[in-house]
Amino acid sequence: MTMSGDDRFEREMRSVIREAGSSGASPELRERVAATLTVRPVQPAPSGVGWPLVAAAGVAIVLAAVVLRPQPISTALPPAASTASDQVGVGSAVAATAATEIPGPMQHPGEVQTGQLLTATDGVVINTAGSILTTHDGGATWFDVTPSAHYGASTEHDVERVFFLDPQHGWFATYDVGSPDGLMIWRTYDGGTGWTGQPMPGLRAVNWQLGFVTPTVGWLATDPGGESPKPELRMTTNSGDTWTDPIDLIAATGRSTLEQIAFLDGQHGVMTGDNLLLFTSDAGRTWSPAYVGATDYNVVEGTPRYGAVHVISAQKAFVVVDWLDPQGRTRGQTILETFDGGGVWASRYSDARHRFWDFIDESHWVAVDDEWVASTTDGASWGASTWTGLPAGLSSAVLQFADPMHGWAEVAGGTACPGGSGDGTGLCAGAAVVPMLFKTIDGGSTWSPVGDCDPASSNGFACPSPMPS
């Protein structure tokens, strides 16, 4: 592939898209909009139900929303005591509550776009309506645990990701561009029955990462985006009641973009990205290049892209390295393992293939590609079988296995290519699948959708009938 080919592709791509968007609004649309603008909606007064619209200067407000299931009924958490002396006083003041009763268990969670498998039976998903739903029976029934005040407060806050440490402790954050409220962090200690919302006044965070290693110790990485990047890192030791002063990640790492961050404990963390593997042993204040031992370059070569960190314990973690060719295609992979919290990494496995991985524990690994599921208990000997139920031409998947048998796969961007692509990527032009979540209970041999399945959009895989529970 020559540069001129790349340039031509870029030019044609831009031209095709701009051609499709070359027309402006029609006179009819202008008339409709003008009519809309002449009718002013009544702006509702702040209802006071769980939204912190009144804040005295210098006083942060903690918002608590209580979502009641039919049973049991639970109240919001009391704020945990602050223990860190270097933490600033965000979220140390007034609490307000709101309560909404939600319907009982549902049979289906709707169209699911992402999720997190926590145990063989516990999981949490976000559906395409932006609702957070949990299951405690392997998906037979679901509870909508979306904090109601969240949606009562803003129509533009989309919940796109949640982070659950276990079935009880979960967090998510929202940020509304243009709003002065700053990032809002929500947490639950009871599986979503009660939520506490905490504003971070003035904290602009178009991009954010939020994670916890225990119910109290966590990190928050943010970037305001735009033309003045300012990635920052904050730590908490009291569940997010207070956060440390921000650490300037540009100064600490030399990187102006917010890269992937994961902590193994309150001190040891890893930052990964394209040709980037850094570690910290002082809670993010300083970052250094990690040492990577010899890799089998006979199998793979190219530019390394260090992927998400799979944390096993405070000392041990895995990282999958994609080796990219000049066109950005994955030509092979290496599995790196650390035993010291991220400072030193050793190569455990290399192969000239492109797989999607999960590491259940130190010895159990699972890998899926566009045809096979493979697993190992020692990183050396493998068992493999072809899978059924996932979309043909699987090209992107995030695996989460709770144990060697039970797993979820978040799948997006697969393209069917019956005759092979001929370019080594395994991909070709054709119908792509809608991002969906799938589950397996037999170690990955058979998969079925989590949530509703529409045969018309399933593109190559058969929706089970009746719907799986």
Binding site: F9, E12, M13, S15, V16, I17, R18, E19, A20, S23, A25, S26, L29, R30, R32, V33, T36, L37, R40, P41, E111, T128, S154, T155, E156, D176, V177, G178, S179, P180, V206, N207, W208, Q209, D223, G225, P229, T257, L258, E259, G273, G328, S396, A412, G413, S421, D423, L427, C428, A429, G430, A431, A432, V433, V434, P435, D454, A456, S457, S458
Partner: protein, 176 residues
Amino acid sequence: MTSELRGQVGSAEGFDALVHARLDSCYRLAAVLLGDRAEAEDAVHDAILRAQRSWISVRDGRAAPAWLDRIVVNECRDRLRRRRVGRAAMAAQPPNDLTTRSVDAASAERAALRDALAVLSVDHRVVVVLRYLLDLTVDEIAARTGTPAGTVKSRLHHARRELRAAYDAAERQADR
């Protein structure tokens, strides 16, 4: 436009100014995302209604255009997801606006790109259109989609790979 808005955020006049200044851009964005002019008009109209209801929450006029774009993107994304089928259906019967408008005059590669764009996943299509139609940076796309910059980069990478595969396949076909 932005400077005009600074003193008007939250006011009806400020919202009118924003909409009038951004209507063409919003429509173009919706038209490419949805691939259907009539639905794009509906989407823009509905997005403006939603924006009008929450305009009072906007405090920073500089962020207002991105805020409005985000509402339009969300509206289009919701419609595409409701369509869902659209993706499989479009593969067999591409949307009229995106695919047939100039197929006679276009090269095979351009036709292949249009077809491939029409069947991209919703999230992939959104980032590609924001990148190539509006020339936005990764961070600016992140602001309009509410996703981390890393996710935007990943989606752009995968989307471009799919589009490039279609383009290369058409190119090889044309060379035969």
